[in-house]
């Protein structure tokens, strides 16, 4: 039903386009006209489609809660002694019933009445919506087609609307970021109502299990996040130690040394590496690398945990090699050929030129790429969930099992959880910390890049 309505609105839009264009064509028969006829078509179609879309979206956003409150106010007498939870259940039940879904429990008369009221109001609302959209859209069309004349500058008007269009897209991205941030912040504030900020940020013990009943023993809950931060940073550093040298050197090889036929094969291979899903890296780490490391440890007499930070870091490093490599490759290729010629012309060898001229000139971009890779490593989830440990041990020994912020967030939120216990809310606090950390990292990355850029430009 909705699809048919949407399609017919699109059809009307198209007809409006034809109407605007044919009016412009008719004007053009006798006199010259400011813009191409298509622009007048776009103009009239636009003035139909945009009001319709705006009204439709806002109506759909608010109509459901409005209908629900209508239903409730109609049945005020019957539900007067419901408490808050009963009311919520009641609303859920009659919505499900009216849409023909199964509900648990018996279907009372009251519920049936509510459901029929709900579907009645929904139908009214939808009909009203269609009429409202049509009338306002056609009004817009009427206004706009009257504007079509030989002097009307439809081309400029369309240009202006396109500007708004892009602005709107940008706003969506920014609003989404703000929305995500706020949702995390509010949950985190609830968490910090229960757990001290100091205890969270500087506490050395992480043990989020809490007693649910009074008589349970043990687990009193400890939310010191330092072990998680240390674990995250340890794994990230190992990953960067792998990815930065390898990625950078391979970027240098590809952009400076490799013959074009080698480059033609090597570059797509690297892109394949970038396209492997992280879950595949995860079992590569858990099934291949970790046992190999443990076996190697036994061979040389080291005790290497089967969930060691080293194994996870190595695999994560391999994962971000393409990121470092392709970003570095871009900035190295962007160094002007005249720099290379200048250095070679002074009798420098290729490697001297790379070391002393090209890398310094490309450094800002490389630093930016490395910091990007770092924030990727810090936020990486799948590999660590699959291959890193769960126990929050405070250690910097790469052969030991450590856990990370993302692993803990996943563990805290997986399965059935009550969303008001500190244990669950801790996940949001961790998320917020991660967010702030990455933000600070990016800020400093940009600062460094800017400083170098001033020096080199």
């Amino acid at each position: 039903m909705m699809i048919i309505i949407a399609l017919s609105f699109l059809l009307i839009t198209f007809l409006n386009f034809r109407a605007g264009r044919s009016k412009a064509l008719k004007i053009r028969e006798n006199t010259s006209i400011h813009s191409l006829p298509e622009y007048y078509g776009y103009y009239t179609a636009f003035w139909f489609l945009i009001p319709v879309t705006l009204i439709g979206i806002s109506w759909l956003l608010f109509s459901e809660s409005l209908i629900t409150s209508f239903v409730l106010s109609n049945l005020q007498k019957e539900i007067v002694n419901f408490n808050e939870i009963q009311t919520l259940n009641f609303i859920n039940d009659f919505k499900n019933l009216s849409e023909g879904r199964n509900i648990t429990g018996e279907i009372s008369l009251l519920l049936k009445e509510a459901a029929s009221l709900y579907s009645y109001f929904s139908t009214v609302s939808n009909t009203l919506l269609i009429f409202a959209c049509l009338s306002i859209g056609l009004f817009g069309f009427y206004i706009s087609i009257n504007k079509v004349s030989s002097v009307f500058q439809a081309r400029n008007a369309i240009e202006r609307y396109i500007n708004y269009f892009f602005l709107a897209s940008t706003c969506i991205a920014i609003l989404a970021t703000a929305g995500i941030l706020f949702s995390v912040v509010f949950e985190a504030i609830r968490f910090f109502g229960v757990v001290d900020l100091d205890d969270f940020l500087f506490g050395l013990k992480w043990s989020p299990q809490m007693a649910i009943r009074e008589d349970q023993v043990g687990s009193s809950g400890a939310f010191g996040a330092i072990p998680l931060f240390v674990g995250t940073i340890l794994i990230s550093i190992i990953a960067l130690l792998v990815a930065v040298p390898v990625g950078l050197m391979n970027a240098i090889y590809l952009s400076e040394y490799s013959p074009s036929n080698v480059r033609a094969y090597a570059k797509p291979m690297l892109e394949i590496l970038a396209g492997i899903p992280t879950v595949v890296y995860g079992f590569f780490a858990a099934i291949t690398v970790a046992p190999f490391l443990r076996g190697f440890g036994e061979f040389v007499g080291l005790s290497i945990s089967s969930e060691s930070a080293l194994g996870v870091g190595l695999v994560m490093g391999i994962m971000i090699i393409p990121l470092v490599s392709s970003l570095s490759d871009d900035v190295i290729s962007a160094v002007p050929q005249s720099m290379r010629d200048g250095s070679l012309g002074l009798g420098a060898t290729k490697s001297e030129t790379i070391k002393k001229v090209i890398l310094p000139a490309a450094l800002p971009g490389i630093v930016g790429g490395v910091l990007l890779a770092a924030s990727r490593a810090i936020g990486e989830t799948m590999i660590v969930v699959m291959a890193a440990g769960l126990s929050a041990k405070l250690t910097v020994n790469p052969l030991d099992a450590v856990t990370t912020v993302t692993v803990q967030i996943v563990t805290l939120l997986v399965g059935d959880q009550e969303f008001d216990s500190p244990k669950t809310l801790a996940a949001f606090a961790l998320g917020l910390t991660l967010f702030v950390f990455t933000l600070v990292l990016n800020y400093y990355a940009l600062r460094i890049v800017k400083k170098y850029r001033e020096q080199y430009e």
Binding site: P336, D341, G342, G345, G347, V357
Partner: protein, 276 residues
């Protein structure tokens, strides 16, 4: 006027220099893939003289100059044949024999180059000039290096302008200053020949005049090969001039002869402004 000269065309004028010979080019051909960009060029380059290379765009001047320090090696598809020698030694000898008597790094230290667009490194002014001496180990200590940098900057007339800000980035200078910095950078490795590929085409008239004065001073100690689009400039600065046309070296002679009484009709046309 755009027709090619036939394949066994011989350069008119005088390919010999009156000064003592520093570089000698024999039967030099350059191919970029299938394109025959430079055809059978024979010429001597003499010490203490300025040789101007003139001709319309795409005639092979830059290709020729880039053969003299083997900068064409950096272009994958470029192929150079013939014999070019510096002080009698074939500079392309390691093409045939890797243990040849001239390696490309040493060659480029002896044959310096200044480019069309000033290309100072994104380093300090001091480091720009010190770059060459450092990679070739020309200076015994820091003091030695300071003196060398100062003397090079003095030679190009930049010292007074930059002595208080040697740590500033080379790219912070004006275009003309940057080009003089590039010349200072080139002479810091004490070359014998300096190649200049349209050194003034990105500069304003005043900066151009300073570079021209500098070229005239430098010719006391160096052999200079200067590509230029400006006939006036060529006649002001050069003692010999060579006219290239579609890959051929048409005529080479003393500047006086070329600019006042050229022998070949193509040269006459170019000089009088009918082509190019």
């Amino acid at each position: 006027m755009e027709e090619e000269l036939d394949s066994n065309f011989k350069t008119v004028g005088n390919i010999r220099t009156e000064k003592s010979v520093i570089m000698n080019v024999e039967d030099c051909n350059v191919y970029y893939g299938d394109v025959h960009a430079l055809k059978n060029v024979n010429m001597e380059i003499g010490k203490s003289e300025v040789l101007a290379l003139i001709g319309p765009s795409g005639c092979g001047k830059s290709t020729f100059i880039r053969c003299l320090n083997r900068l064409n090696d950096t272009i994958d598809i470029a192929r150079v044949t013939g014999k070019i020698s510096l002080d009698g030694k074939d500079i392309y000898s390691d093409y045939i024999n890797t243990s040849g008597n001239m390696d490309v790094v040493l060659l480029r230290a002896r044959v310096g180059m200044v480019f069309q667009k000033p290309n100072p490194f994104p380093k300090s002014i001091f480091e720009n000039v010190a770059y060459g001496p450092k990679i070739h180990g020309l200076c015994k200590d820091k003091n030695d290096l300071n003196n060398l940098v100062e003397s090079c900057l003095v030679k190009v007339g930049l010292w007074d302008e930059v002595k208080d800000r040697l740590e500033d980035s080379g790219t912070s200078l004006s275009g003309g200053q940057q080009q003089r910095l590039c010349i200072a950078r080139a002479i810091a490795v004490q070359p014998e020949v300096i190649l200049m590929d349209e050194p003034c085409s990105a500069l304003d008239p005043i900066a151009t005049e300073r570079i021209e004065d500098l070229i005239s001073e430098l010719k006391q100690n160096y052999a200079l090969v200067v590509v230029t689009h400006s006939m006036q400039q060529a006649s002001r600065i050069s003692q010999r001039a060579a006219y290239f046309h579609m890959g051929n070296l048409v005529e080479v002679d003393s500047s006086n002869k070329i600019f006042n009484d050229p022998s070949h009709p193509l040269t006459t046309n170019y000089i009088s402004g009918r082509i190019g």
